[in-house]
Each structure stands twice: as structure tokens, then as C-alpha cells.
Amino acid sequence: MRASANRHRRRGTRQHKSTPLTAAMVLMLLYTLLPLVWLLMASTKDSGSLLSSFGLWFGDGFHLFGNVKDVLTYDDGIYVRWFGNTLLYALVGAGGAALIATIGGYALAKYRFRGRNAVFALVLGAITIPGTALAVPTYLLFSEVGIVDTPWAVILPSMVSPFGLYLMRVYAQEAIPDSLLEAARIDGAGELRTFFTVSLRLLGPGFVTVLLFALVATWNNYFLPLIVLSDPNWFPLTVGLNQWNNLATGAAGSGTTTTGFYPLVVTGSVLAIIPLVIAFLFLQRYWQSGLAAGSVKQ
């Protein structure tokens, strides 16, 4: 009797719900969402009411569209350029990272070859290597090679994801039965064809998970582009937005604060957040199952 009630619990049906617990979680939800509500509200205000009106409600007039227009047209549309750069770095960098990690994790999970365990141990060690500690040396190295201030300087380092490889190895072990590969081999399918026609489809959720987390890492990357780029035309959104903020607060060196920049920073921030939030919301089912599989054998 109790056991079957318990099964219902896992499915979340016929279970009494706890109001105090829900209330506590509402507090936490307010903590995570209220700052974003503030940001959304702020993006509807002009600089005057941004400084004077209450943060969690609208100010005088609705200036969202005017603000968006200002963001998109300021300085000959430099924001659009930054947006495009970010998109380029994220898609090529994260897409590359996810693909490379998927093929590599598949190799580690499904093939035996000399050095396999050594590579995996090395990569596991590399997970603890601080990514940002590598940024300054990366700059120095890239300036030797002469690719500083080009997109490559941002894209190349983001193509490697040790954690992605780790996750995909675990995922491939679980998701692809060896018997399936056997069957494909007996049918005479080549290894490459097997990978692309059989295995890749089974690796889907894992791939989406790694891709999303790599997308976040590259879309939100700040330290590396800050270091390796000096031409504003190649800036991603993060570096560009901070430049605008420095103009607003007067930290840019001009000494004068330009409060007119605040709506640009705020509205630009909102536009920068939207793509990732949408990606996470719409791909929920994929990445949540990918995460679950990755945690089986942590």
C-alpha cells in the first residue's frame, strides 16, 4: 500500500503538496527573477525616469522601442556588429567544441586503442586547469603567431571542452549498445558511416547538452575576448556592453559621466540575454535528459 503511494509520489500525482515549502521556494524564485524584472522595467525607461522612478515598475512613458532603436543605431549600428560577432564566436566555437567532444567521447567509449586511458586521465586533469589562468598566456602565444585581434583568437580556445568530452564519453557508453555497432559492422557498414547514420542520432541529447553549455560559455565569454581583441569591430557583446558602461559611469577616462548611456547599457543587456534564455527554454527536454544521463556515473 505504502509502496504504491510512493510510486505516485515520484510521478507527482495524488501527493499532498506542502505550502510552507512552496513559499520558501517562491522566495528563492523572487531572488533569481526580480533582478531580471528590474532589468526589463529599466529597459522601458528613458535616462531621466531610470534614475528617479521605482525600479520594479514602469517609469514615465514607455520608451522600450525608442531604447531598442537607440541601441541598434548608436555609432552606426556597432551593437548589431557586436551581436553578429557574438553569434559567430558562439556558433563556430561552441558548435566546434560540441562536435569535437562528441566524436572524441564516442572514440573513448566505443574503441580500444593504445593511449586511450592516458588521454582520458589527462583530460580529466585538464578539467581542473583554470580556464582563465590560461587567458594571459594565450594572448602572448597568439601575438607571437600573429592572430591577436582576429576572430580566431576567440574561436580557437573555445573549441576545446574537456568537460564536454567527459560528459560525451559517459553518455556514449550508456546510449549506444555495443550490439548495435556489432550489427552495423556485420552488415558491412564502415566505421564513419556507422557513426554518422547510427551513433550520432543516439548521441543527440548528450550533444545538445554539451552544445548548450558550450554556447553559454562562449556567448558569455568576457575575459578572453577582452584580452585578445582591441578593435571594437571584433568585440563580442560582453566587451562592448562594458565599454558602454564605462562611458556611462565615466570610468572610460573622459572624466565626465554620461547618464544618457544607461538606457543603452540596460536595453543592450536585455537584448543580449534573450537568445540564450530562449534556447534553454525551448531545448529543456533535451538538455535535462542529457544532464541526467551524465550524472549516472559521476
Partner: protein, 318 residues
């Protein structure tokens, strides 16, 4: 040489040794092994370019110094000797250590409670909480820092507005005594949902039978959380701790952004990473900066490793 695999045969993991052999024989060997190399090659190349080469180059650079006379010369461990004596670096390391000691347990504690609450089935609208608490993770650190910086600030800060509304004096959150806590709050806000999801994912794979057994024994939700869920979460918690430790030592984005809002509080050596950055780009001391980066990397790796070892030792002791 291939062994046909019986359908539904147990996987090698966790079963008795004899059943392991067919598993290993089923893996491709010989001529198929070279496809293993082929598939792994892109990763190895990216790994060499993105991690190994900068690491080696940093180590190399750290042994040289640029002198007014004679150009760049080999100086052995001089840069390291200087770094060990460097008060600014030491202060930065202590600051991130303090940050780590307080912020990481707080954030992981919150993440743990949230994950347990969502998994308990006692919550109304559980999916809403799951995604809503996670959403800040998708917000760039730059935007999060700017936003919180504005919220903290005098100019149009929400904190001040709410404080005024309640008639409470709010402290200067961008002042020197509150800055580290303010940064800690930004980092917590960004990553609490991410860690919650990692823990939640680990909770979802706990076998149903354990709960059924617990229910037969008459265990309530708290007892189940304590005796089944927490032990099962240990590996995931350990992983989250290691990543958080690394993140704390690497602290850069948030303080660097806050610097523009409070330039007198957040100094150029506020965290070791900021120090390495400013040495290189505002001081042109590339060699010394490389030495600082190497030391920071070593300290991070050692602490992360220590966390891992102490965590898994406790696991074995159980």
C-alpha cells in the same frame, strides 16, 4: 574474434568479473582501433592548441625577464621568488580564499536545498521553480555584474529604494567592507540554479526500489532525504565543489566589472587573476604576469585536488 552479444546481457559495470570479459572483447580492436585515433584526433589537436601550448608557453616565459639593458634574459626562478614575496598577490589569494570559504558553501547549500525541495514532490509548480532558478545561468557574467552593480548603487539602486521605503538605512554595498559580499551575491545568483540542476539530475537517477524500501520501513521525507538522497548526492556535490573552487580562484569578470562602479574599492590586484591581467596589460610585465598565472594555476589545481581527495576519502570511509 567478435562475440555476439546476447540481448539484455548485463553490462560490464558493477557485475562480477567473469561477465567483464565479453564486454571488453566486444569493443572494437585492431583495425577498428585506428578509427578510435581518427575520432579522437580533433579533440587532441584542440587540446594542444587551447590548453597545452599556452600552459607551456606561460611556464617558458616565467623564467625570463625583460631588462632595460641586455633585453630579455633568462633569470631562473627570480620571478617566482618575487611572486612569493609579493604582498599584492598574497592579499589577492587570501581574498579569494575567504570568498571561497563563505560563498561556495552558501551557494551549494542553497542549491542542495532547492534540488531536494524540487525532487521531494511536495512542491507546487515544481517545473517552474526548476527553470526559474536556473535562468540566471544563461545571463552573461558581464550583464549580471552590471545589473547587480546598478541595483547596489546609489544612483538608481533598487536596494536603496527598498531600504528608503522601509525606513531602513542600507549600507553602501559598493563600499570596501561590503564589496566582497556583494560580489559573492552576484556569483551565487549566477550559479545557484546551475548547481541545483546538477544535483537534481543526480537525484533523478536514484533507483526507485530504495524509496520503496524506505517507505516500507516507514521513513518520512526528511528521513529519506537524509539517509538515501544525501549519500547518493555525494559524487555530484563533490564535482560541484571542485568546479566552484576553481571558479573562486579564477574570479575576474565580476570584480573587473564592479571596478568601473567602485574604482577605489576594487583595486587592480583585487583578485590574483585581475592582478595577472593588469600586470600584463597595464604594466607590460608579461614575464612576471606569466609567473603569477602559473602560480595561480598551481594553487588552484592543488586546492581542487585536495577537495577531491578529501571528498572521495570520506566516501570510501562510509
Amino acid at each position: 574474434m567478435r562475440t555476439p552479444s546476447p540481448p539484455g546481457a548485463p553490462r560490464g559495470e558493477g557485475s562480477a568479473p567473469p561477465s567483464r570479459r565479453p564486454t571488453s572483447r566486444r569493443l572494437a580492436t585492431g583495425s577498428q582501433g585506428r578509427y578510435g585515433y581518427l575520432f579522437l584526433t580533433p579533440f587532441v589537436l584542440a587540446f594542444l592548441v587551447g590548453i597545452v601550448a599556452p600552459l607551456l608557453y606561460a611556464a617558458y616565459l616565467s623564467f625570463f625577464q625583460e631588462r632595460m639593458v641586455g633585453g630579455t634574459t633568462f633569470v631562473g626562478f627570480d620571478n617566482y621568488a618575487r611572486a612569493l614575496e609579493d604582498q599584492l598577490l598574497r592579499a589577492g589569494l587570501w581574498r579569494v580564499a575567504l570568498f571561497l570559504a563563505i560563498q561556495v558553501p552558501l551557494m551549494l547549500g542553497l542549491a542542495l536545498l532547492a534540488a531536494l525541495a524540487i525532487d521531494s514532490g511536495l512542491l507546487r509548480w515544481a517545473p517552474l521553480f526548476r527553470i526559474g532558478i536556473f535562468i540566471p545561468y544563461a545571463v552573461p557574467a558581464v550583464v549580471a555584474s552590471l545589473m547587480w552593480g546598478y541595483l547596489y548603487g546609489d544612483r538608481f539602486g533598487l536596494v536603496r529604494q527598498i531600504g528608503d521605503g522601509l525606513g531602513v538605512d542600507t549600507p553602501n554595498l559598493l563600499g570596501s567592507s561590503w564589496m566582497l559580499a556583494s560580489i559573492g551575491n552576484v556569483v551565487t545568483w549566477e550559479f545557484v540554479g546551475y548547481n541545483m540542476l546538477i544535483l537534481y539530475a543526480a537525484l533523478r537517477v536514484i533507483p526507485e526500489e530504495l524509496y520503496e524500501a524506505a517507505a516500507i520501513d516507514g521513513a518520512g521525507e526528511f528521513r529519506k532525504a537524509w539517509s538515501i538522497k544525501l549519500p547518493a548526492l555525494r559524487p555530484a556535490l563533490l564535482l560541484a565543489s571542485v568546479f566552484s573552487v576553481i571558479g573562486s580562484f579564477q574570479l575576474f569578470n565580476e570584480p573587473n566589472i564592479m571596478q568601473s562602479l567602485a574604482p577605489n574599492v576594487v583595486t587592480t590586484s583585487y583578485t590574483p587573476n585581475m592582478y595577472a591581467y593588469n600586470l600584463a596589460f597595464n604594466g607590460q610585465q608579461f614575464n612576471y604576469s606569466a609567473a603569477v598565472a602559473v602560480i595561480l594555476g598551481l594553487v588552484t589545481a592543488v586546492v581542487a585536488f585536495a577537495v577531491q581527495v578529501s571528498g572521495s576519502r570520506k566516501e570510501h570511509a562510509q
